[in-house]
């Protein structure tokens, strides 16, 4: 019973919980809203642990499949079709984990419209789980777009001074990308007479069709990841969003774009992906190197982390698209699996690390109401425990061995060596750049003499803050020292994916 509806529960419970939280009404019932949100996110996290435990390793088949009729009129066939494989399962667990963190992080900080705040995050959780679990393109699109609404509200209501600009930019930017994907999905649906994503994987398409569909997908996913040059919404959105919004944005929403590449672009249009992989690799490397330099120049901590996110996500897309260069230079695809797996590990790790970094900035912002690096200095003197966490996460962000940040980067660089020395060279520059911008920020903010009176008056983190930062640092170490569970979970799926995408889908003679 539980097994056959687990995914529905992971989607439905947060949505239901969100409605219940909304029903608590105004701010006089804020404590109830908080507790309800906490209970709900705990239950969902528990369910996703069940999902992880019952997930069968060694198969690339979809698991926990649910299939019901959804819309069935005329020539329209859309199903309520859910299922997870090794790619989506870890992301669902990550979503559940980060939502719990966000609920705890917003506990005392948010005092205005508490119920709406908590409900927004629960809604987002349900919708994001829906995106990861959907195996029907129409259903996927519904979750994909609906998710924008709560985020739009979160940035707009609880955000900083330029929140309106940032949130409208965020919405329109992502909406712009997605609508072209809708047309591509409709086109594919007409070809196969339904919206089943797995059927789309096997449809034969001519090169021209593939290229156009690839570009339509690229618009949607590149904006979401975000890839250079369509990344400009992200720094704005991050800077203006409340801490919780930044965390979810960085930890999960960016991963949705990367997930889209794996679920749609690569398997549906492998030949176009192969033909355009040079473009994709170039864009990824520009993100890694150029955005790394941009991050170096930032004065605003949140903006710096935002740019660092873009740079790290460049690694992810690099890992996805080096498959064919490996094939070209090696004559076989050994190492391609490692590239994609490294990218996946990087996604999960970046979810924890960037989320944690934003939470650290949030902890300081709650006390000082400033995100400017110049306003800080010598925080370690007044907040020693916090400083320890901040330095740890900074190290993870810079890819220190032993932390989760290292594993993904290392795997991607290693496999890009098999593709081309210069790819690896450019990618490896992030080890220097990432360390430079992160540690330089840490040096200016955390270390040194106490910069001003306000820093001198800072109080160290309380037990609530200690709890969520501690939880995150635990994850950073676990995946840094022992990433095997994650790799095992995704191995079969990624291997199968590489086998699938390295076979041409062109019609004979097409």
């Amino acid at each position: 019973m539980l097994d056959s509806h687990l995914l529905s529960l992971l989607i439905g419970l947060p949505l239901l919980g969100g409605m219940l939280v909304l029903a608590t009404g105004g701010d006089k019932n804020a404590p109830e809203a908080r507790v309800l949100a906490l209970v709900c996110s705990l239950v969902v996290l528990g369910l996703s642990v069940v999902l992880y435990q019952k997930f069968a390793l060694g198969t690339s088949k979809m698991q926990f499949v649910e299939l019901y009729d959804w819309i069935r009129v005329g020539s329209l066939r859309a199903n309520y079709h859910l299922g997870v494989d090794g790619i989506s399962m870890p992301l669902i667990v990550l979503t559940s984990f980060m939502t719990l963190i966000v609920v705890i992080a917003g506990w005392e900080v948010i005092q205005y419209k508490v119920a709406q705040y908590m409900a927004s995050f629960l809604f987002m959780q349900g919708l994001m789980n829906g995106v990861f679990a959907a195996l029907d393109a129409a259903l996927f699109y519904v979750f994909w777009e609906a998710m924008l609404i709560p985020m739009f509200i979160v940035i707009g209501v609880w955000g900083g001074p330029r929140r309106v600009y940032a949130t409208i930019k965020f919405f329109l930017y992502t909406f712009f990308g997605s609508v072209f994907m809708l047309i591509a999905l409709l086109y594919l649906a007409i070809q196969i007479g339904g919206f089943d994503i797995l059927q789309m994987h096997s449809v034969k398409l001519s090169m021209q069709e593939q290229v156009l569909i690839f570009i339509a997908f690229l618009l949607a996913f590149a904006v979401k990841v975000p890839m250079w040059p369509v990344h400009t919404w992200l720094p704005d959105a991050h800077v203006e969003a409340p801490t919780g919004g930044s965390v979810i944005l960085a930890a999960i929403m960016l991963k949705l774009g990367a997930y889209g590449f794996l679920r749609f672009s690569l398997p549906i249009t492998p030949d176009a992906s192969q033909a355009l992989d040079g473009l994709m690799i170039s864009l990824s490397l520009i993100a890694v190197v150029y955005i790394g330099f941009v991050a170096l120049a930032q004065q605003d901590m949140k903006k710096l982390i935002a740019y660092s996110s873009i740079s790290h996500m460049g690694f992810v897309t690099l890992g996805f698209f080096i498959v064919w260069s490996i094939g070209r230079s090696q004559g076989n695809y050994h190492g391609a699996v490692m590239g994609i797996e490294g990218a996946m590990v990087q996604m999960i790790s970046h979810g924890f690390v960037s989320g944690a970094m934003f939470l650290c900035v949030g902890v300081m912002y709650d006390r000082m109401h400033s995100r400017m690096i110049n306003d800080y200095g010598g925080v370690v003197n007044t907040m020693p425990v916090f400083a320890a966490f901040a330095v740890l996460f900074a190290m993870a962000n810079a890819g220190l061995p032993g932390t989760s940040g290292f594993v993904g980067e290392f795997m991607v660089i290693l496999s890009s060596f098999k593709a081309n020395f210069w790819y690896a060279f450019a990618a490896a520059s992030t080890l220097v750049l990432g360390a430079a911008y992160t540690l330089w920020m840490v040096k200016r903010v955390i270390f040194g003499a106490v910069a001003n009176d306000r820093v001198a008056k800072l109080s160290d983190i309380n037990s609530r803050e200690f709890f969520f930062l501690g939880l995150l640092s635990l994850m950073v170490f676990v995946f840094g020292l022992y990433p095997a569970p994650l790799l095992d979970a995704m191995d079969a799926t990624v291997t199968d994916l590489v086998r699938h995408i390295t076979q041409s889908k062109l019609l004979p003679g097409g």
């Binding site: 005329g74 709406q116 739009f152 309106v164 409208i168 609508v179 007409i190």
Partner: protein, 479 residues
């Protein structure tokens, strides 16, 4: 049963409506100012009677009456049901608004009912003359409704504009009809359709087609015949705008289907190009100009224009599925427009018109529930899932992609992104800004209830759009 009774039975809903409207007209003369509620109740009962007779006399097969001038088919019945339903909602939303203002109460309902009669005749038209008859009955009622606020300068001005432009459009339509009649020798749409192919390359036929299209475009408010829409929407009392902006769109859709599909399907390759131009221009001008508006009624007027452009895409696909998607779009638009104009009425207090966009500021603080309802409506209009408006766009795009006009679909979605901006602005005003006045809203219970149902329907039907889609697809049998 004698033939005449069979025929009268087909038109029974219209006859019932005519009778009960006359009854309302007479009763309204004798009720005192204090008991005006009776007129309202009678008007609702009239619509209920129409609803019941429509269902009771529905035959399920296409049959015509009165020498092939009047047709009763599944398409007509479905559209009429929705017209009656949406007018009933309009009447309820309008009730308190009219009571607190110096607008003739009884006249609004009587004219409204006559308008419904016009719409129903238009929907059932099987000949060019019946089209014209229904259209004029509807239009004249609406001209008068706009002019109801006779002391208001803007209302008189927009009534005048509406009347003059409407008369020109009717003239053009008649002119076009006369040419088609001249070429085919028949007023019956079915006969015209069989003969039209013989005259496919005839210049007079083309002129006839173009003039008929002008008439249709004017009724819909499609570019370049949209000039009246913003002025009339803004100038009329909000209750009248609500009426004009909802059910008549369904009638206009019926007119388009009757003329272009039932009558001139043979010229499809000719009218498709014209409709493409109209659709693109409507989406472009509607969406872009709406951004510059600060009056919400005017903004919604331009948004209507853009939606009309979008639904034309479904029509120009020319497939049964395309027509069905256009019909679905029309119905969904009507439901959303009912809610949106309803919200404008709901926000307007005694002697206060919530016409300026700023009056929506901080609605989330004043009434979180209705802010949420408006949020649903706005995101639905913008075409964001999971709301119903998304599926309307989805179906239309699907039928456009199915006939390989992918570029047109891409253009349409680009304009809908432009459109998303001004809907987002309303959400921004409601949620991100602080309220200018902190009075809680005074809303009657029936309005409160229906408004909530209206908004939630847009959400819930969006989660499962099957049955309403199914209705639309079933009335366009695969030819």
């Amino acid at each position: 049963m004698p033939l005449i009774f069979t025929q009268l039975q087909l038109a029974l809903p219209e006859i019932v409506l005519l009778g009960s409207t006359c009854l309302v007209l007479i009763v309204d003369l004798f009720v005192s100012e204090r008991s005006r509620g009776i007129t309202y109740i009678l008007a609702q009962m009239a619509l209920l009677a129409v609803f019941i007779t429509l269902l009771a006399t529905s035959v399920g097969k296409t049959s015509d009456a009165f020498s092939h001038t009047f047709v009763r088919d599944a398409l007509g019945d479905t559209l009429k049901l929705f017209v009656a339903l949406s007018c009933s909602v309009v009447f309820l939303y309008a009730k308190n608004y009219l009571k607190t203002r110096d607008i003739p109460f009884g006249e609004f309902y009587v004219l409204g009912l006559f308008g419904v009669l016009g719409m129903m005749i238009l929907i059932s038209a099987a000949s060019l003359l019946t089209v014209y008859l229904g259209l004029e009955l509807l239009s004249l009622s609406m001209y008068a409704m706009v002019a109801l606020q006779r002391d208001s300068v803007t209302a008189s001005e927009s009534a005048m504009k509406y009347f003059v432009l409407g008369a020109i459009a009717s003239g053009m339509l008649l002119y076009g009809m006369s040419m088609i009649y001249g070429m085919t020798g028949s007023l019956e749409l079915a006969t015209i359709n069989t003969k039209v192919l013989e005259h496919q390359h005839d210049i007079v036929m083309m002129f006839g087609l173009v003039f008929v299209l002008v008439g249709i475009a004017f009724k819909f408010g499609a570019v370049p015949f949209h000039m009246w829409v913003p002025d009339v929407y803004q100038g009329s009392a909000t209750a009248v705008t609500l009426y004009i902006g909802t059910a008549p769109k369904i009638a206009a859709f019926a007119m388009l289907i009757r003329l272009l599909v039932d009558g001139l399907l043979g010229l499809q390759s000719e009218w498709r190009d014209i409709v493409i131009v109209i659709a693109i221009a409507s989406m472009a001008i509607g969406n872009v100009v709406a951004i510059a508006q600060s009056n919400i009624k005017r903004m919604l007027a331009y948004s209507t224009i853009s939606h009309v452009g979008f639904l034309m895409l479904g029509v120009l696909a020319g497939t049964p599925e395309g027509f069905a998607s256009a019909m679905f779009y029309t119905l969904v638009y009507t439901l959303t427009a009912l809610g949106s104009f309803g919200m404008v009425i709901l926000m307007s207090g005694y002697g206060f018109e919530a016409e300026h966009l700023d009056s929506f500021k901080g609605l989330n603080q004043r009434s979180p529930w209705f802010a949420f309802i408006m949020l649903i409506l706005m995101f639905s209009m913008a075409g964001v899932p999971p709301f119903l408006g998304f599926f309307a766009k989805f179906m239309v795009l699907k039928s456009v992609v199915a006939i390989d006009l992918v570029w047109l679909a891409a253009l349409a979605v680009v304009f809908s992104i432009v459109g998303a901006f001004y809907y987002l602005r309303i959400v921004k005003l409601m949620y991100f800004d602080t309220a200018q006045d902190s009075h809680s809203l005074e809303i009657s219970t029936d309005m409160r209830l229906l408004m909530s149902v209206n908004g939630l329907l847009v959400l819930l039907l969006g989660l499962k759009p099957d049955w309403i889609l199914d209705l639309c697809i079933r009335v366009f049998p695969l030819a």
